[in-house]
């Protein structure tokens, strides 16, 4: 999508209300601003030094005029405050029939999980004309989910679950930005909200029209990156069998035990020397810098799928 942006897209039920208040504020500012400008320009010209304007009976104080002017201006302004507050309160009232999405923000990507367990990275498919509630958690620092076309924004705070809801009114693909500075690749922490018709969405969800599930893609990576060369019953290398690892304790060579959670799986791939499994040689190479972050997530999803007893889903 190129060309010149001249106005933001308006693609949700919240957008028209926002745009109306924005317009009102713009109108208020323009009118008052022009009045101020007129005072300065007109008097600047009329009363310039040496002009023949009437300067009799000048006033240096007029509290009545002052309070009246400020009073009228702020009566209008406080009306705008009230309007803004009323729009804001709407954020707390999720309409009935909403679909729920679990959103996770981490440096530097978005993960969205649908009700049926389907996960997406940096993309969120939603149906049009249906309220969507996204429950947001962060795995590290504060992020912020921002979709300008929907006029929604909510900070994602570690240690809290925050929430954002919207109801899209147009199909199409809309920019998603991270709006709270979160470190090196903050500018790249972007994505798309893809709004589809109800029918298309239903089809997409059931057949995952975009292709394989995350876990299936992870299985492909497991083979293409060579992990199966050691971990899948290799005749020459002795490496731990990864079936049933996720979600269970792992005995380490340091004589401690650790729970094999998401972080353990990631560390084992990126920093395999950090925690050596008991009874195995520390010969696994590090894949740090060799795997893209979203590929890493797919591998983790695949490994999680190898433990049927464990529940899917990342760390809180």
């Amino acid at each position: 999508m190129s060309g010149i942006a001249l106005h933001p897209l308006s693609a949700s039920t919240a957008a028209p209300g926002f745009d109306l208040l924005f317009l009102a504020l713009l109108g208020f500012s323009t009118i008052v601003g022009l009045a101020l400008l007129s005072m300065i320009i007109i008097w600047g010209v009329r009363y310039r030094k040496g002009s023949l304007a009437d300067r009799s009976a000048p006033q240096s104080e007029n509290n009545l005029l002052e309070f009246a002017t400020i009073g009228v201006l702020f009566a209008v302004a406080f009306g705008l405050f009230g309007w803004g507050a009323w729009l804001f309160l709407g954020r707390d009232h999720v309409p009935a029939g909403a679909i729920h999405i679990a959103g996770t923000a981490k440096q530097w990507m978005w993960q969205f999980e649908h009700d049926n367990g389907e996960k997406e990275l940096n993309v969120l498919h939603v149906p049009v004309n249906r309220p969507v509630v996204v429950d947001l958690v962060s795995q590290d620092v504060i992020h912020s989910m921002f979709v300008p076309a929907f006029r929604v924004k909510q900070d994602v705070v570690p240690g809290l679950t925050t929430r954002l809801w919207f109801e899209a009114t147009q199909t199409g693909s809309f920019d998603l930005f991270c709006a709270q500075y979160c470190g090196t690749q903050h500018s790249e922490m972007r994505g798309q909200i893809v709004v589809m018709s109800e029918a298309d969405f239903g089809k997409w969800l059931s057949t995952r029209a975009t292709g394989k599930t995350l876990a299936q893609q992870g299985a492909d990576l497991f083979r293409s990156l060579g992990c199966s060369g050691c971990h899948d019953n290799s005749p020459t290398i002795r490496a731990p069998d990864l079936r049933g690892v996720y979600g269970h304790p792992v005995a380490l060579a340091s004589r401690t035990t650790v729970l094999a959670d998401d972080q353990y799986l990631r560390d084992s791939i990126l920093q395999p020397q950090k925690q050596i499994a008991a009874g195995y040689d520390p010969i696994m190479p590090s894949f740090d810098g060799l795997i893209a972050p979203d590929d890493l997530e797919k591998l983790v999803a695949y490994l999680e799928s190898l433990s049927p007893a464990a529940t899917s889903g990342g760390q809180p």
Partner: protein, 535 residues
């Protein structure tokens, strides 16, 4: 003090060597020490901004790496906020003029004054070293847990440096408050004080009460980062929002530290060049204090979408609309001062009128952001950047220029080139609007802050903004040249080249070391201008 023949020597004549400057306790020389340091930091912060704007000409991140860009906007924020804007008018014009405006020989604690400059220099250079040597990329806002747990670089050192500079601010604030209470000339009651003194006083109140909270917050950041005390780390039971509340409890009043003195300057310049008393003087005085007080009550408007409660948001939004009232009173009164005057448009007046317009625009943008429903969309976008640059650059820096040009004859005894002054003022006004108005559009379109790559459809607005930045840079380099030139070749200035009221104009330009040959006595209200019917 016996009455002697008027002292003809100026404060420059009391010593010319480095020692006489570096060990001075004369408030006028301390003001110059600050002026030199602050100008240095202004151009450092400006250089960072220039590099950022060059990067933003293209949608891709092709000039700078992610880390380099993040460090640049951090440098820009830290340097501009703490090493330029906060001290600017108070430490330079305030230091020079406060005793003069009060009819005093110096501030209440001259040695404390000099010490405050040394503390400032030490802290700011320490921070600058930390930033350049190791890089800090947290932004000037140091949000936790990014700054405490995840950020690499010299965060602790930078925070420590800012902590040190905070002491300088507190020292200045204490000095100004006590000076204003204890060293006014005979006959100078509170309501005969110029508004510049009122705003410096209000600024000093905020300085002494808000800065310690920043000190506490930075201390906690450093402890959390170095020792892992966990106060802001949710993994240890801490609360990231606690950081935001503590940080903004200081940082919002801090923006009033930055703007109040500018309002004071404008309140001196407009009456002088309109030849009219300031309209509604008492209300302007009260509103200065009002801004200082209300400024402490609105910090939560930086946190509407942070996870703060909706109820808190409503309260803070309401109070934020309230805090606009005293500012609106001032803007109205400045405009009303023009009525039935004899207005001339010398350089200081051009800057002052520019201030009124640009500050008003920034203020309207503030109303947008204070409105909860609108802030949800505009928060953390370029709209916010445009808002505070309209206030800080269009307002504060413009007022600083106005004050510098207005009092330059008093500080130096020289006159600068009026033509060049007017050209620079016009260039600044045009360059400023070209730089920052497109940023309102960008924010409305949805471009987030602190992004160095962006969707291509935002490009045209970014290009306009960067072009404006070039013009603005020129506009700020020009005064450096002609004001510097005037120090050596400028025409000698008389005691009162503008025909202004105010006690500082009743002595020579520049003043002697003890400020007044004969200590002044105040017998009437300030701004005793009356328009001449025929000129």
């Amino acid at each position: 003090m016996t009455v002697a023949a008027p002292d003809r020597s100026t404060y420059f004549a009391e010593g010319a060597g480095l020692r006489s400057w570096l060990l001075t306790t004369d408030h006028k020389r301390v003001a110059w020490l600050y002026l030199v340091s602050l100008t240095f930091f202004f151009f450092i912060g400006g250089a960072a901004a220039t590099l950022m704007r060059i990067e933003l000409v293209t949608p891709q991140g092709d000039l700078l790496t992610d880390d380099a860009y993040n460090r640049l906007f951090t440098i820009h924020g830290i340097v501009m906020v703490w090493f330029f804007l906060v001290p600017s008018i108070p430490a330079t014009l305030g230091n020079f003029l406060l005793p003069l405006m009060l009819g005093a020989k110096d501030v209440a604690f001259p040695r404390l004054n000099l010490a405050s400059w040394y503390v400032f220099v030490f802290g700011s250079l320490f921070t600058l070293y930390a930033i350049i040597a190791g890089g800090v990329d947290t932004g000037w806002t140091f949000y936790a847990p990014l700054s405490t747990v995840y950020a690499n670089g010299h965060v602790s050192m930078a925070a420590a440096g800012v902590f040190i500079v905070g002491f300088s601010t507190i020292m200045t604030g204490i000095n100004f408050i006590v000076t204003t209470h204890k060293l006014r000339a005979p006959g100078q009651t509170w309501f005969r004080l110029p508004i510049f003194v009122w705003t410096l006083y209000a600024t000093s109140l905020v300085m002494v009460l808000a800065t310690p909270v920043l000190a506490a917050t930075l201390l906690l950041i450093v402890l959390d980062r170095l020792f892992g005390i966990g106060i802001f780390d949710p993994a240890k039971g801490g609360d990231p929002l606690l950081f935001q509340n503590l940080f903004w409890f200081y940082s919002h009043p801090a923006v009033y530290i930055m703007i109040l003195p500018g309002m004071g300057v404008v309140s001196e310049v407009i009456p002088c060049f309109a030849r009219r008393p300031l309209f509604g003087y008492k209300l302007v005085a009260y509103s200065s204090i009002g801004i200082a007080v209300f400024g402490f009550l609105v910090w939560g408007h930086h946190m509407f979408v942070s996870g703060q409660s909706t109820y808190a948001g409503v309260v803070f939004s309401f109070l934020s609309f309230c805090v606009a009232i005293p500012s609106a009173i001032k803007v109205f009164n400045w405009a009303m001062t023009l009525r039935k005057g004899q207005i001339s448009f010398e350089t200081p007046m051009l800057y002052a009128l520019g201030f009124v317009g640009l500050f008003a625009m920034g203020g309207f943008a503030g109303l947008f952001l204070a409105a909860l429903g609108i802030d949800v969309d505009l928060h953390d976008t370029y709209f916010v950047i445009a808002h505070f640059h309209y206030i800080m650059v269009g307002g504060m820096v413009t007022a600083y220029m106005a004050g510098l040009h207005f009092w330059w004859p008093k500080l130096t005894g020289r006159l600068y080139s009026e033509i060049l002054g007017k050209i620079a003022a016009g260039l600044a006004f045009l360059g400023f609007n070209l730089t920052f108005f497109p940023q309102f559009v960008l924010g409305w379109l949805g471009m987030p802050r602190r992004y160095h790559t962006y969707p291509p459809e935002f490009q045209v607005w970014n290009v306009l903004s960067s072009a404006g930045a070039v013009v603005l840079a020129l506009a700020y380099l020009l005064p450096l040249c002609y004001l510097g030139w005037s120090l050596f070749r400028g025409a000698r200035a008389p005691g009162n080249p503008w025909g202004a009221t105010g006690l500082e104009w009743r002595t020579t330009s520049p003043p002697p070391e003890d400020n007044f040959a004969i200590p002044p006595v105040v017998t009437g209200p300030p701004y005793a201008y009356a328009p001449d019917v025929t000129e």
